[in-house]
Symmetry: C2
Subunit: 238 residues, 2 copies
Amino acid sequence: MPYTYDYPRPALTVDCVVFGLDDQQRLQVLLIQRDNDPFQGQWALPGGFVDMDETIEQAALRELEEETGVKDLFVEQLYTFGNPGRDPRGRVVSVAYFALVNRSRHPVKAASDARKVEWFALNQLPQLAFDHDEILQVARARLRAKVRYQPIGFELLPEHFTLSQLQQLYESVLGLEELNKRNFRTRILKMDILEEVGKQEGVAHRPAKLYRFNKEKYDRLAREKHEDLLRRGVDFEI
Amino acid sequence: MPYTYDYPRPALTVDCVVFGLDDQQRLQVLLIQRDNDPFQGQWALPGGFVDMDETIEQAALRELEEETGVKDLFVEQLYTFGNPGRDPRGRVVSVAYFALVNRSRHPVKAASDARKVEWFALNQLPQLAFDHDEILQVARARLRAKVRYQPIGFELLPEHFTLSQLQQLYESVLGLEELNKRNFRTRILKMDILEEVGKQEGVAHRPAKLYRFNKEKYDRLAREKHEDLLRRGVDFEI
DNA sequence: TCAAAAGTGTTATCATTACACCCATGG
DNA sequence: CCATGGGTGTAATGATAACACTTTTGA
């Protein structure tokens, strides 16, 4: 049953860039293998067409769950990609979304039609369909920017984590060799948004303290700091 | 001549939030008066439908020029608004763009069909069509965030400006009473991206030095600082 | 007792804030 | 010579960076 309009319209899709961590706090991204043309068999970001009666964000969450089983997560809008020619089927405009997940809380379920779904390390990516490599680059840039003013670690790490894990995560997201341990710790602890919840057990070295993120405290401090920043006015990081 | 598709498609539009300054460095936004239903006669952001053979950004620039005469400017994508129900004509998804202009370099020309085009102070806005008030709120939030890490003043102010004008701009964008003059100046000058280009003349007080923004210097420093920030790693402003 | 990783003390330097003060101009 | 904004000196405080050191565990 066809739909007819006076002027031509692009198709509207969503794509989701979902980041997680492997067991060494290295950043990974969730991809699916396409089972239809174009780009059949190639890896791509999960996504699909927006229905007429859902918000764009709902479409992103729905497609992500249908294709990967990952659900109950917070997504944020990343950017809208719509250059003519980005899709060989015709004009397709795609709103990209971006999410951080704790992999143990968001297990991947192969979709009903047995399409493959996998986590890929960012330095071992397969070739991607469409302009998905560009979308992924934009998402990585956003993540690097975000890490600087929001404690993203807490969405990615398990509930209890050590400061070394948190540091490894920062090193991985920022693509750095090694941050200074002393200063990293001072900085993080000074923020006063972590709670001690015990120690590691059974490790062949001094056991690390385990921490949990205290969200209430963070929200309160974030509000105060926000007002402070406003008061100070400028702070060009250039 | 109708266009037919197998599945229904939303219409795709663009909207432009263009900020400028009045003669006292207070923030203003460029609006047009709608000449068609829906919302005929009401004020709205400039914008319109995306053509099939242009990028979304090109559509934004084209519509802005057609409707307001403002052209040759840099726009950046702001956000995509697509809730069902945001347009009474049916499902319409709009990609919003955001720009800062120096009003003297970008004069407004009434469109051919004599629609009204005007700058409005942000605290004296008329009622806006569609969800354009929401789009404007998002743009203001983006501007407040942007002002903190990029020297936006230089896109908004005339080529030669005084430090007091720059300070007034910051106070206006951030919605603050008064920043500390001493510290504002120290901070701005320490960045070392301004060049002295003379003095005011004919004012009934000590004439202020006039400055110009040195873009080359800024770009160089921005790169260096960027690397520094990476090296430092974390810098949660919370 | 050793390796491995966790965790701490300290100092020099720099940035930020707050407040009071002086300067140049036209009327 | 005064009103008006432009422009400066400075000291106390706090943040940051750099580096070397101590501690706790299992094997």
